[in-house]
């Protein structure tokens, strides 16, 4: 048991396992035909990562409890209906998991197209965030095609940037509402300064209740910036000339 934990800890330095490592009895399951052993209570995403599979993910990271909102880590599991999110599905002995299939590729791409329909074109080329990695993983590194039917719809491109904090800024246009910042503030820092306000398409990261980052309970710890997978929360030091949004598409 301890052996498995230590092995995971070693791995963790290099790879984001997707969900926090757990202690537990060894459980063996099949990932894409390869038998993989992980501690009980681990997620299928963690097992798949250890097995060497590349499962795209956005809301999942191994420093935060799983959340299940981004819907790009979907997999197929024998005997289960539909396409369970691998981050929120605990491993079971004998489980047979497929991390890729024609339908999964299509489904993940379909979800990421929705993200892209509300993400600035100008920030796609040359981006280095986890969001950009995910784009490449699903074959959308060029962004949404110019004639894609999702184009021309409602976006958050005109929501103002919050530059109130001296150390970092928040650009809602690049926010994918994965709640990693909210959860980092809660789970890592214990400050509870962030929440999601609004419902549906209006859902947005909000410091306190509609306050600026500086006016909120935020203590500038930076946990949210580190957790953000899409550069919506980003250090100001990266923009010595000041932060300027490119013209919206």
């Amino acid at each position: 048991m301890t052996f498995i934990w230590n092995e995971l800890r070693d791995l963790r330095d290099a790879v984001d396992l997707g969900t926090p490592p757990r202690d537990g009895q060894p459980v063996t399951l099949s990932i894409d035909g390869v038998d993989t052993t992980v501690p009980a209570r681990s997620s299928v995403l963690l097992a798949a990562t250890i097995a060497g599979a590349t499962v795209p993910k956005l809301c999942a990271t191994d420093t935060l409890e799983c959340f299940g909102s981004c819907r790009v880590c979907l997999v197929e599991i024998d005997g289960r209906r539909g396409y369970p999110a691998s981050c929120t599905t605990p491993v079971e002995s004998g489980m047979v998991v497929r991390t890729t299939s024609e339908q999964l590729v299509k489904l993940r791409r379909g979800v990421v197209e929705l993200y892209l329909s509300d993400y600035p074109d100008s920030d796609i080329d040359g981006g280095w965030s986890q969001f950009h990695t995910t784009l490449a993983q699903v074959g959308l590194e060029e962004g949404l095609p110019a004639d894609h039917p999702y184009r021309g719809g409602d976006t958050h491109a005109d929501v103002p940037v919050d530059e109130s904090n001296p150390y970092f800024l928040f650009d809602p246009a690049k926010c994918i509402v994965c709640s990693r910042c909210v959860r980092a503030c809660e789970e890592i820092q214990g400050t509870f300064a962030l929440t999601i306000a609004g419902r549906g398409f209006s859902s947005q990261v909000s410091p306190s209740q509609g306050e600026s980052f500086l006016a909120s309970e935020c203590v500038s710890c930076g946990a949210c910036v580190q957790a953000c997978p899409s550069d919506a929360l980003i250090e100001k030091s990266l923009f010595p000339e000041g932060y300027h949004r490119a013209d919206p598409r």
Binding site: C66, G68, S69, T89, L114, S117, P149, V177, G200
Partner: protein, 516 residues
Amino acid sequence: MTTNVYVPCDAIALALGADDVATAIADQAAARALDVRVIRNGSRGLFWLDPLVEVDIDGVRHGYGPVEADDVASLFEAGFLGGAAHPLSLGPVESIPEFAAQTRLTFARHGVVDPRSLDDFVTHGGFAGLRRALTLSPDELLVEIETSGLRGRGGAAFPTGIKWRTVANAVATPKYIVANGDEGDSGTFADRMIFEGDPFCLLEGMAIAARAVGATHGVIYIRSEYPHSIATTQAAIDAARSAGWLGAAIAGSELSFDVEIRVGAGAYICGEETSMLESIEGKRGTVRFKPPLPALEGLYGKPTVVNNILTFASVPWIVANGGAAYAAYGVGRSKGTLGVQLAGNVARGALIEVPFGITVRELVERFGAGTRSGRPVRAVQVGGPLGAYFDNAGLDVALDYEAISDAGGLLGHGGMVVFDESVDMATQARFAMEFCAAESCGKCTPCRVGSTRGVELIDRISAGTRREANHEQLLELCDVLEHGSLCALGGLTPYPVRSALRLFPGDFGLVTDVAQ
């Protein structure tokens, strides 16, 4: 001798002026020095006759309806207290064909009793189920529920017995019983009728569940849009507690169980069980991923039975009469009866309790008497705003979870909304996406972003902008919503959209639809 006159206090009857009618009856009786006692009962569910005034003559309830306050004087003049003829006479209420043709098990006391009167409840068979439950072991009780074949009436139709046994087998304590009354589906009102017509029945069902699984505390979640329900149910809780039917050592038994009401704040998504649990815990109403199942880690992370109001209200009859008696009704895996709610453009809006197996056409045409406008029925949406549309030719589908599922739909909470020929189904498909966009909790991306894109795509299809490309994208989006969403809101929104596209493509300008 006192004559008992019943005037319903259900919200629909109130909206139709029942309070004024009740006042007018009391005033006329006083003016004529007649010994009349006005009792406020629940509704019989025959809404086209509401306010339905009933006079008890030698134990037979004679109906007059729909009564307006202005009719009351003429009723007295005609001698309605003796059951005399009047243009509004309906004869014995239980002989009204649409009522007589029903099988009232869950709704047996509806419209018969004063919903706030514990004595009335007990006189009409109330607590017979709980009394029997207290003589059974929890396992015997679970067997009765399993034998009945009862499935969750909120929409998911999950076998209630399996759910309860899962909670019973859970080791953690305390355990909770949560009744979901966040009845947000358009065209549904069965939960509201339980709250306003027979709330003790709900309390009895919850107490039986507590006995079966070993729970000590219950929560009834009622939407804020139901003020009369909240008041009536609270009155019932208070009365039951005072009489020892809630609290410690119920009816002198080992069972200790109490109930409180939590009021929603206007979010449809809080009818989704995990969002409701978040809401009860005082958090933002967002969906939890499963597993863990609420049965094992539900309210405050403890084992929790979450069922719809109708499910709990069906339990007392089952336990009083035996699971086998309930399972004798219905067809296939759909056992027992369902309180079907007829709404929309329908001549006779009603709550109709019937055994499973009847066709949707019989419900709409025989009980609902077709459309209110008199035009032919063009479409019926079965199962709430996330249910599929059926065209007129498809109405012969049986009221049966599996049959409706095989036909591409879902039975949901049993609501049916009728549309006539004037309906534009592209507008209805747009409404489905718009509804999802307005009610999405915002957690998962297919629902959060996809619903808004869906509205935009349908608008472009309707406007004739790149119609084929947008249509193709809409179908792809429906796949993403169905397979990618975290919960049933995003997962089921494609049902009305796809069915509208499939059955009524002409309304979207997609093809010249000769059939329409």
